[in-house]
Assembly symmetry: C2
Homo-oligomer: 267 residues x 2
Protein backbone atom coordinates (compact mmCIF):
# COMPACT_ATOMS: atom_id res chain seq x y z
CA UNK A 1 0.00 0.00 0.00
CA UNK A 2 1.34 3.43 -0.96
CA UNK A 3 2.34 5.64 1.99
CA UNK A 4 -0.10 8.28 0.76
CA UNK A 5 -3.05 5.88 0.81
CA UNK A 6 -2.10 4.75 4.30
CA UNK A 7 -1.83 8.37 5.47
CA UNK A 8 -5.25 9.42 4.16
CA UNK A 9 -7.16 6.33 5.30
CA UNK A 10 -9.87 7.27 7.78
CA UNK A 11 -12.07 4.97 9.85
CA UNK A 12 -15.80 5.75 10.11
CA UNK A 13 -16.72 6.87 13.64
CA UNK A 14 -20.38 7.86 13.43
CA UNK A 15 -22.38 10.12 11.12
CA UNK A 16 -20.12 12.63 9.39
CA UNK A 17 -17.24 11.63 11.68
CA UNK A 18 -13.97 9.85 10.95
CA UNK A 19 -10.89 8.83 12.89
CA UNK A 20 -7.44 9.30 11.42
CA UNK A 21 -3.83 9.16 12.53
CA UNK A 22 -0.88 11.37 11.65
CA UNK A 23 1.59 9.64 9.35
CA UNK A 24 5.30 9.33 10.28
CA UNK A 25 6.00 9.03 6.52
CA UNK A 26 4.79 12.63 6.09
CA UNK A 27 6.38 14.11 9.22
CA UNK A 28 7.55 17.72 9.04
CA UNK A 29 9.90 19.58 11.37
CA UNK A 30 7.13 19.81 13.97
CA UNK A 31 3.98 17.76 13.39
CA UNK A 32 2.89 16.61 9.92
CA UNK A 33 3.32 18.17 6.44
CA UNK A 34 0.37 20.55 5.97
CA UNK A 35 -0.48 19.07 2.58
CA UNK A 36 -1.18 15.65 4.09
CA UNK A 37 -3.36 17.19 6.79
CA UNK A 38 -5.30 19.06 4.10
CA UNK A 39 -5.77 15.81 2.17
CA UNK A 40 -6.97 14.02 5.33
CA UNK A 41 -9.54 16.78 5.93
CA UNK A 42 -10.78 16.56 2.32
CA UNK A 43 -10.89 12.74 2.57
CA UNK A 44 -13.85 13.05 4.98
CA UNK A 45 -15.76 14.90 2.25
CA UNK A 46 -14.71 12.37 -0.39
CA UNK A 47 -15.90 9.46 1.78
CA UNK A 48 -19.13 11.10 2.93
CA UNK A 49 -22.12 9.08 1.66
CA UNK A 50 -24.01 12.29 0.81
CA UNK A 51 -21.28 13.78 -1.38
CA UNK A 52 -22.44 15.28 -4.68
CA UNK A 53 -19.85 15.72 -7.43
CA UNK A 54 -16.12 16.37 -7.27
CA UNK A 55 -14.14 19.08 -5.47
CA UNK A 56 -14.11 22.48 -7.18
CA UNK A 57 -12.68 24.55 -4.32
CA UNK A 58 -11.21 23.69 -0.94
CA UNK A 59 -10.00 26.05 1.78
CA UNK A 60 -8.16 24.67 4.78
CA UNK A 61 -7.11 26.78 7.75
CA UNK A 62 -4.29 25.52 9.97
CA UNK A 63 -5.59 26.59 13.35
CA UNK A 64 -2.95 24.84 15.45
CA UNK A 65 -0.02 22.48 15.09
CA UNK A 66 -1.23 18.88 15.02
CA UNK A 67 0.20 16.59 17.68
CA UNK A 68 1.47 13.25 16.39
CA UNK A 69 -1.30 10.73 16.98
CA UNK A 70 -5.04 10.38 16.45
CA UNK A 71 -7.45 13.00 15.19
CA UNK A 72 -11.15 13.23 14.40
CA UNK A 73 -12.54 14.73 11.20
CA UNK A 74 -16.09 16.10 11.15
CA UNK A 75 -17.62 16.87 7.73
CA UNK A 76 -21.09 18.32 7.28
CA UNK A 77 -22.89 19.20 4.02
CA UNK A 78 -24.18 22.66 4.99
CA UNK A 79 -26.01 23.10 1.71
CA UNK A 80 -26.89 20.76 -1.14
CA UNK A 81 -28.12 22.25 -4.40
CA UNK A 82 -29.01 20.55 -7.67
CA UNK A 83 -25.43 20.32 -8.90
CA UNK A 84 -23.29 21.92 -6.15
CA UNK A 85 -22.70 21.22 -2.49
CA UNK A 86 -21.07 23.22 0.33
CA UNK A 87 -19.16 21.54 3.14
CA UNK A 88 -17.91 22.59 6.56
CA UNK A 89 -15.08 20.48 7.94
CA UNK A 90 -13.26 20.49 11.27
CA UNK A 91 -10.37 18.39 12.48
CA UNK A 92 -10.11 17.96 16.23
CA UNK A 93 -7.63 16.46 18.64
CA UNK A 94 -9.37 15.85 21.96
CA UNK A 95 -11.72 18.82 22.39
CA UNK A 96 -9.48 21.24 20.48
CA UNK A 97 -10.04 22.32 16.88
CA UNK A 98 -6.81 22.09 14.89
CA UNK A 99 -8.20 22.55 11.35
CA UNK A 100 -11.19 24.41 9.95
CA UNK A 101 -12.10 23.96 6.29
CA UNK A 102 -14.76 24.52 3.70
CA UNK A 103 -15.21 22.68 0.43
CA UNK A 104 -17.35 23.13 -2.65
CA UNK A 105 -18.13 20.04 -4.69
CA UNK A 106 -19.99 20.09 -7.99
CA UNK A 107 -21.07 17.99 -10.92
CA UNK A 108 -19.03 19.21 -13.89
CA UNK A 109 -20.54 19.75 -17.32
CA UNK A 110 -19.21 20.19 -20.83
CA UNK A 111 -18.85 23.91 -21.64
CA UNK A 112 -16.68 26.28 -23.62
CA UNK A 113 -13.27 26.54 -22.00
CA UNK A 114 -9.81 28.02 -22.41
CA UNK A 115 -6.64 28.45 -20.38
CA UNK A 116 -4.97 31.82 -19.84
CA UNK A 117 -1.76 30.76 -18.15
CA UNK A 118 0.14 28.34 -20.38
CA UNK A 119 2.63 25.79 -19.10
CA UNK A 120 5.93 27.72 -18.88
CA UNK A 121 8.67 26.79 -21.34
CA UNK A 122 10.70 24.36 -19.26
CA UNK A 123 12.84 21.29 -19.89
CA UNK A 124 11.16 17.91 -19.63
CA UNK A 125 11.22 16.10 -16.25
CA UNK A 126 13.71 13.52 -17.50
CA UNK A 127 16.10 16.37 -18.39
CA UNK A 128 16.05 17.87 -14.90
CA UNK A 129 18.21 16.35 -12.20
CA UNK A 130 16.72 15.19 -8.92
CA UNK A 131 18.31 16.63 -5.76
CA UNK A 132 21.30 14.53 -4.75
CA UNK A 133 20.56 14.49 -1.04
CA UNK A 134 17.73 13.30 1.17
CA UNK A 135 15.22 15.76 2.55
CA UNK A 136 15.88 17.40 5.90
CA UNK A 137 12.40 16.33 6.95
CA UNK A 138 10.69 13.05 6.19
CA UNK A 139 7.79 14.23 4.00
CA UNK A 140 10.20 15.63 1.41
CA UNK A 141 11.22 12.04 0.65
CA UNK A 142 7.62 11.24 -0.33
CA UNK A 143 7.97 13.49 -3.37
CA UNK A 144 10.14 13.36 -6.45
CA UNK A 145 11.03 17.04 -6.89
CA UNK A 146 13.05 18.34 -9.82
CA UNK A 147 13.77 22.02 -9.44
CA UNK A 148 14.02 24.00 -12.66
CA UNK A 149 14.33 27.49 -11.17
CA UNK A 150 14.21 28.94 -7.70
CA UNK A 151 15.38 25.90 -5.77
CA UNK A 152 16.64 26.00 -2.22
CA UNK A 153 19.29 28.69 -1.75
CA UNK A 154 22.78 27.18 -2.12
CA UNK A 155 23.87 29.15 0.94
CA UNK A 156 21.71 30.66 3.67
CA UNK A 157 23.56 33.95 3.65
CA UNK A 158 20.61 36.33 3.80
CA UNK A 159 21.19 37.61 0.26
CA UNK A 160 17.94 38.88 -1.23
CA UNK A 161 16.66 37.56 -4.56
CA UNK A 162 14.78 39.78 -7.00
CA UNK A 163 11.68 37.60 -6.65
CA UNK A 164 10.47 34.46 -4.92
CA UNK A 165 9.42 32.36 -7.92
CA UNK A 166 10.04 28.62 -8.00
CA UNK A 167 9.40 26.16 -10.83
CA UNK A 168 9.68 22.41 -10.38
CA UNK A 169 8.48 19.11 -11.71
CA UNK A 170 6.98 17.06 -8.91
CA UNK A 171 5.09 13.82 -8.30
CA UNK A 172 4.56 11.30 -5.56
CA UNK A 173 7.55 9.11 -4.72
CA UNK A 174 7.06 6.30 -5.56
CA UNK A 175 4.73 7.38 -8.39
CA UNK A 176 1.00 7.05 -7.71
CA UNK A 177 -1.98 7.83 -9.98
CA UNK A 178 -3.17 11.37 -9.25
CA UNK A 179 -6.47 11.90 -7.43
CA UNK A 180 -8.11 14.89 -5.73
CA UNK A 181 -6.44 14.07 -2.42
CA UNK A 182 -2.91 13.79 -3.73
CA UNK A 183 -3.45 16.90 -5.84
CA UNK A 184 -4.46 18.73 -2.65
CA UNK A 185 -1.30 17.59 -0.87
CA UNK A 186 0.83 18.50 -3.90
CA UNK A 187 -0.60 22.03 -3.77
CA UNK A 188 1.29 22.53 -0.50
CA UNK A 189 4.59 21.13 -1.76
CA UNK A 190 6.37 24.46 -2.32
CA UNK A 191 8.94 25.42 0.30
CA UNK A 192 8.34 28.82 1.95
CA UNK A 193 8.68 31.76 -0.46
CA UNK A 194 10.41 33.81 2.21
CA UNK A 195 13.28 31.30 2.36
CA UNK A 196 13.65 31.64 -1.39
CA UNK A 197 13.46 35.43 -1.37
CA UNK A 198 15.77 36.06 1.62
CA UNK A 199 18.02 32.99 1.83
CA UNK A 200 17.20 33.02 5.54
CA UNK A 201 15.63 30.12 7.47
CA UNK A 202 13.10 32.23 9.35
CA UNK A 203 10.47 30.13 11.20
CA UNK A 204 7.22 29.89 9.23
CA UNK A 205 3.84 28.18 9.26
CA UNK A 206 1.05 28.03 6.68
CA UNK A 207 -2.07 29.64 8.13
CA UNK A 208 -4.55 29.02 5.32
CA UNK A 209 -4.51 27.38 1.89
CA UNK A 210 -7.10 27.43 -0.88
CA UNK A 211 -7.08 24.97 -3.78
CA UNK A 212 -9.11 25.57 -6.95
CA UNK A 213 -9.50 22.37 -8.96
CA UNK A 214 -9.56 23.10 -12.67
CA UNK A 215 -9.13 19.37 -13.25
CA UNK A 216 -12.07 17.02 -13.30
CA UNK A 217 -11.65 13.29 -12.79
CA UNK A 218 -10.94 12.68 -16.49
CA UNK A 219 -7.96 15.07 -16.34
CA UNK A 220 -6.67 13.24 -13.29
CA UNK A 221 -6.96 9.93 -15.15
CA UNK A 222 -5.12 11.37 -18.15
CA UNK A 223 -2.38 12.67 -15.86
CA UNK A 224 -1.91 9.29 -14.23
CA UNK A 225 1.34 9.10 -12.32
CA UNK A 226 3.10 11.68 -14.51
CA UNK A 227 4.86 14.77 -13.26
CA UNK A 228 3.19 18.09 -12.47
CA UNK A 229 4.85 21.40 -13.22
CA UNK A 230 4.43 23.56 -10.15
CA UNK A 231 5.07 27.30 -10.17
CA UNK A 232 4.78 29.42 -7.03
CA UNK A 233 5.45 33.04 -6.14
CA UNK A 234 4.68 35.44 -3.32
CA UNK A 235 2.97 38.76 -4.04
CA UNK A 236 3.66 40.50 -0.75
CA UNK A 237 5.45 40.01 2.57
CA UNK A 238 4.31 42.28 5.40
CA UNK A 239 3.88 42.30 9.18
CA UNK A 240 4.46 38.61 9.72
CA UNK A 241 2.44 37.22 6.82
CA UNK A 242 3.11 36.58 3.15
CA UNK A 243 0.93 35.16 0.43
CA UNK A 244 1.77 32.55 -2.20
CA UNK A 245 0.02 32.11 -5.51
CA UNK A 246 0.71 28.96 -7.51
CA UNK A 247 -0.30 26.93 -10.55
CA UNK A 248 0.14 23.25 -11.39
CA UNK A 249 -0.04 21.74 -14.88
CA UNK A 250 0.36 18.16 -16.06
CA UNK A 251 2.98 17.17 -18.64
CA UNK A 252 0.41 17.60 -21.41
CA UNK A 253 0.15 21.27 -20.38
CA UNK A 254 -3.33 21.14 -18.84
CA UNK A 255 -3.85 23.47 -15.88
CA UNK A 256 -4.96 21.20 -13.03
CA UNK A 257 -4.90 23.52 -10.03
CA UNK A 258 -4.49 27.14 -9.05
CA UNK A 259 -3.73 27.47 -5.36
CA UNK A 260 -3.10 30.22 -2.86
CA UNK A 261 -1.94 30.43 0.71
CA UNK A 262 -1.01 32.77 3.52
CA UNK A 263 2.04 31.91 5.57
CA UNK A 264 3.10 33.27 8.94
CA UNK A 265 6.75 34.24 9.32
CA UNK A 266 8.54 35.19 12.46
CA UNK A 267 10.77 38.11 11.61
CA UNK B 1 -25.32 57.49 7.14
CA UNK B 2 -23.40 55.95 4.22
CA UNK B 3 -25.28 53.24 2.31
CA UNK B 4 -22.41 50.85 3.05
CA UNK B 5 -22.66 51.36 6.82
CA UNK B 6 -26.41 50.85 6.65
CA UNK B 7 -25.94 47.67 4.63
CA UNK B 8 -23.44 46.08 7.00
CA UNK B 9 -25.19 47.00 10.25
CA UNK B 10 -26.17 43.88 12.17
CA UNK B 11 -28.32 43.64 15.29
CA UNK B 12 -27.18 41.32 18.11
CA UNK B 13 -29.48 38.31 18.45
CA UNK B 14 -27.87 36.13 21.10
CA UNK B 15 -24.38 34.74 21.62
CA UNK B 16 -22.45 34.70 18.35
CA UNK B 17 -25.63 35.51 16.43
CA UNK B 18 -26.67 38.61 14.49
CA UNK B 19 -29.63 39.70 12.41
CA UNK B 20 -29.13 41.57 9.16
CA UNK B 21 -31.14 42.63 6.15
CA UNK B 22 -30.27 42.68 2.47
CA UNK B 23 -29.71 46.19 1.13
CA UNK B 24 -31.66 47.53 -1.88
CA UNK B 25 -28.74 49.95 -2.43
CA UNK B 26 -26.51 46.95 -3.24
CA UNK B 27 -29.03 44.93 -5.26
CA UNK B 28 -27.66 42.81 -8.10
CA UNK B 29 -29.54 41.23 -11.00
CA UNK B 30 -30.90 38.56 -8.66
CA UNK B 31 -30.38 39.06 -4.92
CA UNK B 32 -27.60 41.21 -3.50
CA UNK B 33 -24.05 41.99 -4.76
CA UNK B 34 -21.82 39.19 -3.44
CA UNK B 35 -19.30 41.67 -2.04
CA UNK B 36 -21.84 43.18 0.33
CA UNK B 37 -22.92 39.71 1.51
CA UNK B 38 -19.28 38.86 2.16
CA UNK B 39 -18.87 42.09 4.16
CA UNK B 40 -22.00 41.32 6.18
CA UNK B 41 -20.64 37.85 7.03
CA UNK B 42 -17.29 39.31 8.10
CA UNK B 43 -19.08 41.99 10.15
CA UNK B 44 -20.20 39.30 12.60
CA UNK B 45 -16.54 38.47 13.24
CA UNK B 46 -15.63 42.16 13.54
CA UNK B 47 -18.39 42.74 16.10
CA UNK B 48 -17.79 39.57 18.09
CA UNK B 49 -16.73 40.44 21.66
CA UNK B 50 -14.11 37.66 21.63
CA UNK B 51 -12.34 38.81 18.45
CA UNK B 52 -8.54 38.86 18.60
CA UNK B 53 -6.71 41.04 16.07
CA UNK B 54 -7.60 42.04 12.53
CA UNK B 55 -8.55 39.94 9.50
CA UNK B 56 -5.65 38.27 7.70
CA UNK B 57 -7.63 35.87 5.51
CA UNK B 58 -11.32 35.43 4.75
CA UNK B 59 -12.99 32.80 2.60
CA UNK B 60 -16.67 33.09 1.79
CA UNK B 61 -18.64 30.45 -0.10
CA UNK B 62 -21.86 31.46 -1.83
CA UNK B 63 -23.95 28.39 -1.14
CA UNK B 64 -27.23 29.76 -2.46
CA UNK B 65 -28.74 32.96 -3.82
CA UNK B 66 -29.88 35.19 -0.95
CA UNK B 67 -33.53 36.16 -0.95
CA UNK B 68 -34.19 39.86 -0.37
CA UNK B 69 -35.02 40.28 3.31
CA UNK B 70 -33.66 39.22 6.67
CA UNK B 71 -30.80 36.87 7.38
CA UNK B 72 -29.00 35.52 10.45
CA UNK B 73 -25.21 35.43 10.80
CA UNK B 74 -23.59 32.92 13.14
CA UNK B 75 -19.91 33.44 14.00
CA UNK B 76 -17.92 31.10 16.22
CA UNK B 77 -14.25 31.32 17.25
CA UNK B 78 -13.26 27.68 16.62
CA UNK B 79 -9.73 28.24 17.90
CA UNK B 80 -8.02 31.06 19.75
CA UNK B 81 -4.25 31.08 19.97
CA UNK B 82 -1.89 33.63 21.50
CA UNK B 83 -1.93 35.95 18.48
CA UNK B 84 -4.22 34.27 15.92
CA UNK B 85 -7.83 33.19 15.87
CA UNK B 86 -9.87 30.95 13.53
CA UNK B 87 -13.53 31.61 12.81
CA UNK B 88 -16.37 29.61 11.30
CA UNK B 89 -19.25 31.71 9.97
CA UNK B 90 -22.62 30.77 8.50
CA UNK B 91 -25.36 32.97 7.09
CA UNK B 92 -28.85 31.50 7.20
CA UNK B 93 -32.25 32.45 5.89
CA UNK B 94 -34.88 30.48 7.78
CA UNK B 95 -33.34 27.05 8.31
CA UNK B 96 -31.31 27.15 5.11
CA UNK B 97 -27.58 27.92 4.95
CA UNK B 98 -26.86 30.47 2.22
CA UNK B 99 -23.22 31.33 3.09
CA UNK B 100 -20.39 29.38 4.69
CA UNK B 101 -17.19 31.18 5.58
CA UNK B 102 -13.97 30.95 7.53
CA UNK B 103 -11.81 33.79 8.76
CA UNK B 104 -8.38 34.10 10.29
CA UNK B 105 -7.71 37.12 12.48
CA UNK B 106 -4.34 37.97 13.96
CA UNK B 107 -2.40 40.57 15.86
CA UNK B 108 0.10 42.01 13.42
CA UNK B 109 3.73 42.72 14.35
CA UNK B 110 6.57 44.72 12.86
CA UNK B 111 8.74 42.50 10.66
CA UNK B 112 10.85 42.62 7.53
CA UNK B 113 8.62 43.07 4.50
CA UNK B 114 8.64 43.65 0.75
CA UNK B 115 6.18 43.64 -2.14
CA UNK B 116 6.69 41.55 -5.27
CA UNK B 117 3.88 42.85 -7.44
CA UNK B 118 4.25 46.60 -7.92
CA UNK B 119 1.39 48.94 -8.74
CA UNK B 120 1.10 48.77 -12.55
CA UNK B 121 2.05 51.90 -14.53
CA UNK B 122 -1.33 53.50 -14.95
CA UNK B 123 -2.68 57.04 -15.27
CA UNK B 124 -3.88 58.74 -12.10
CA UNK B 125 -7.56 58.40 -11.14
CA UNK B 126 -8.27 62.04 -12.03
CA UNK B 127 -6.98 61.38 -15.56
CA UNK B 128 -9.33 58.45 -16.16
CA UNK B 129 -12.91 59.14 -17.17
CA UNK B 130 -15.81 57.72 -15.21
CA UNK B 131 -18.34 55.69 -17.23
CA UNK B 132 -20.95 58.03 -18.73
CA UNK B 133 -23.95 55.86 -17.97
CA UNK B 134 -25.58 54.43 -14.88
CA UNK B 135 -25.02 50.83 -13.89
CA UNK B 136 -27.41 48.18 -15.20
CA UNK B 137 -27.80 46.96 -11.63
CA UNK B 138 -28.07 49.08 -8.51
CA UNK B 139 -24.87 48.08 -6.66
CA UNK B 140 -22.71 49.37 -9.54
CA UNK B 141 -23.86 52.88 -8.61
CA UNK B 142 -22.36 52.46 -5.12
CA UNK B 143 -18.88 52.45 -6.67
CA UNK B 144 -16.87 55.04 -8.55
CA UNK B 145 -15.19 52.88 -11.20
CA UNK B 146 -12.68 54.26 -13.68
CA UNK B 147 -11.64 51.61 -16.17
CA UNK B 148 -8.09 51.85 -17.47
CA UNK B 149 -7.97 48.61 -19.46
CA UNK B 150 -10.32 45.72 -20.01
CA UNK B 151 -13.60 47.51 -19.41
CA UNK B 152 -16.98 46.16 -20.44
CA UNK B 153 -16.97 45.02 -24.08
CA UNK B 154 -18.27 47.84 -26.33
CA UNK B 155 -20.36 45.28 -28.18
CA UNK B 156 -21.46 41.84 -27.02
CA UNK B 157 -20.56 40.17 -30.28
CA UNK B 158 -18.86 37.04 -28.94
CA UNK B 159 -15.42 38.13 -30.17
CA UNK B 160 -12.71 36.56 -28.08
CA UNK B 161 -10.04 38.69 -26.39
CA UNK B 162 -6.47 37.46 -25.96
CA UNK B 163 -6.83 37.61 -22.19
CA UNK B 164 -9.33 38.56 -19.49
CA UNK B 165 -7.35 41.22 -17.61
CA UNK B 166 -9.05 44.34 -16.25
CA UNK B 167 -7.47 47.34 -14.53
CA UNK B 168 -9.53 50.04 -12.86
CA UNK B 169 -9.45 52.68 -10.18
CA UNK B 170 -12.32 52.16 -7.78
CA UNK B 171 -13.68 53.47 -4.50
CA UNK B 172 -16.99 53.75 -2.67
CA UNK B 173 -19.46 56.24 -4.12
CA UNK B 174 -19.79 58.56 -2.30
CA UNK B 175 -16.25 58.21 -0.91
CA UNK B 176 -15.95 56.52 2.48
CA UNK B 177 -12.83 55.82 4.60
CA UNK B 178 -11.63 52.29 3.85
CA UNK B 179 -12.03 49.57 6.47
CA UNK B 180 -11.79 45.77 6.42
CA UNK B 181 -15.45 45.41 5.49
CA UNK B 182 -15.42 47.81 2.55
CA UNK B 183 -12.13 46.30 1.37
CA UNK B 184 -13.83 42.88 1.41
CA UNK B 185 -16.73 44.18 -0.69
CA UNK B 186 -14.32 45.94 -3.07
CA UNK B 187 -12.53 42.62 -3.61
CA UNK B 188 -15.65 41.39 -5.41
CA UNK B 189 -16.07 44.48 -7.59
CA UNK B 190 -14.68 43.01 -10.82
CA UNK B 191 -17.24 42.06 -13.45
CA UNK B 192 -17.05 38.42 -14.61
CA UNK B 193 -13.82 37.59 -16.46
CA UNK B 194 -15.74 35.41 -18.91
CA UNK B 195 -17.73 38.45 -20.10
CA UNK B 196 -14.45 40.25 -20.71
CA UNK B 197 -12.82 37.31 -22.48
CA UNK B 198 -15.74 36.31 -24.69
CA UNK B 199 -17.87 39.45 -25.06
CA UNK B 200 -20.82 37.20 -24.27
CA UNK B 201 -23.28 37.74 -21.41
CA UNK B 202 -23.31 34.14 -20.23
CA UNK B 203 -25.06 33.65 -16.85
CA UNK B 204 -22.56 33.45 -13.98
CA UNK B 205 -22.39 33.28 -10.20
CA UNK B 206 -19.45 33.53 -7.79
CA UNK B 207 -19.15 30.25 -5.89
CA UNK B 208 -16.30 31.09 -3.50
CA UNK B 209 -14.06 34.08 -2.79
CA UNK B 210 -10.92 34.34 -0.68
CA UNK B 211 -9.47 37.67 0.47
CA UNK B 212 -5.92 37.95 1.82
CA UNK B 213 -5.44 41.21 3.73
CA UNK B 214 -1.91 42.50 3.32
CA UNK B 215 -3.12 45.79 4.82
CA UNK B 216 -3.27 46.33 8.54
CA UNK B 217 -5.41 49.05 10.08
CA UNK B 218 -2.66 51.67 9.67
CA UNK B 219 -2.61 51.08 5.91
CA UNK B 220 -6.37 51.45 5.81
CA UNK B 221 -6.11 54.77 7.68
CA UNK B 222 -3.42 55.98 5.28
CA UNK B 223 -5.59 54.99 2.32
CA UNK B 224 -8.57 56.90 3.69
CA UNK B 225 -11.19 57.46 1.02
CA UNK B 226 -8.71 57.39 -1.85
CA UNK B 227 -8.95 55.18 -4.91
CA UNK B 228 -7.75 51.59 -5.13
CA UNK B 229 -6.16 50.20 -8.26
CA UNK B 230 -7.77 46.85 -8.92
CA UNK B 231 -6.35 44.31 -11.37
CA UNK B 232 -8.06 41.01 -12.10
CA UNK B 233 -7.48 38.12 -14.48
CA UNK B 234 -8.67 34.55 -14.96
CA UNK B 235 -6.18 31.71 -15.19
CA UNK B 236 -8.46 29.03 -16.56
CA UNK B 237 -12.03 28.46 -17.77
CA UNK B 238 -13.18 24.85 -17.87
CA UNK B 239 -16.32 22.73 -17.40
CA UNK B 240 -18.50 25.48 -16.01
CA UNK B 241 -16.04 27.14 -13.64
CA UNK B 242 -13.34 29.76 -14.00
CA UNK B 243 -10.99 31.29 -11.47
CA UNK B 244 -10.07 34.93 -10.95
CA UNK B 245 -6.91 36.20 -9.31
CA UNK B 246 -6.72 39.87 -8.37
CA UNK B 247 -4.69 42.51 -6.55
CA UNK B 248 -5.64 45.86 -5.09
CA UNK B 249 -3.24 48.70 -4.27
CA UNK B 250 -3.85 52.15 -2.83
CA UNK B 251 -2.76 55.30 -4.66
CA UNK B 252 0.52 55.30 -2.72
CA UNK B 253 1.27 51.92 -4.33
CA UNK B 254 0.84 49.77 -1.24
CA UNK B 255 -0.57 46.29 -1.87
CA UNK B 256 -3.69 46.07 0.29
CA UNK B 257 -5.30 42.84 -0.84
CA UNK B 258 -4.73 39.80 -3.01
CA UNK B 259 -7.98 38.01 -3.73
CA UNK B 260 -9.14 34.96 -5.60
CA UNK B 261 -12.45 33.48 -6.60
CA UNK B 262 -14.14 30.69 -8.50
CA UNK B 263 -17.12 31.60 -10.64
CA UNK B 264 -19.74 29.31 -12.14
CA UNK B 265 -20.66 29.95 -15.78
CA UNK B 266 -23.46 28.41 -17.72
CA UNK B 267 -22.09 27.59 -21.14
Amino acid sequence: MHAFDLAVSLAPAGEGTWQGHTSPAYANMIGPFGGITAAQALQAVMQHPQRLGDPVAFTVNFAAALQDGEFTVLARPARTNRSTQHWIVEVRQGEATVITATAVTAVRRETWGIEEVPLPRVPRPSDVAAPDRKGRVEWINRYDMRFIAGGFPAVWDGSESQHSRTQLWVRDNPPRPLDFLSLTALSDVFFPRIWRRRATLTPIGTVTMTVYFHAGSEHLRETGDGYLLGQAQAQGFRNGYFDQTAQMWNEAGELLVTTHQVVYYKE
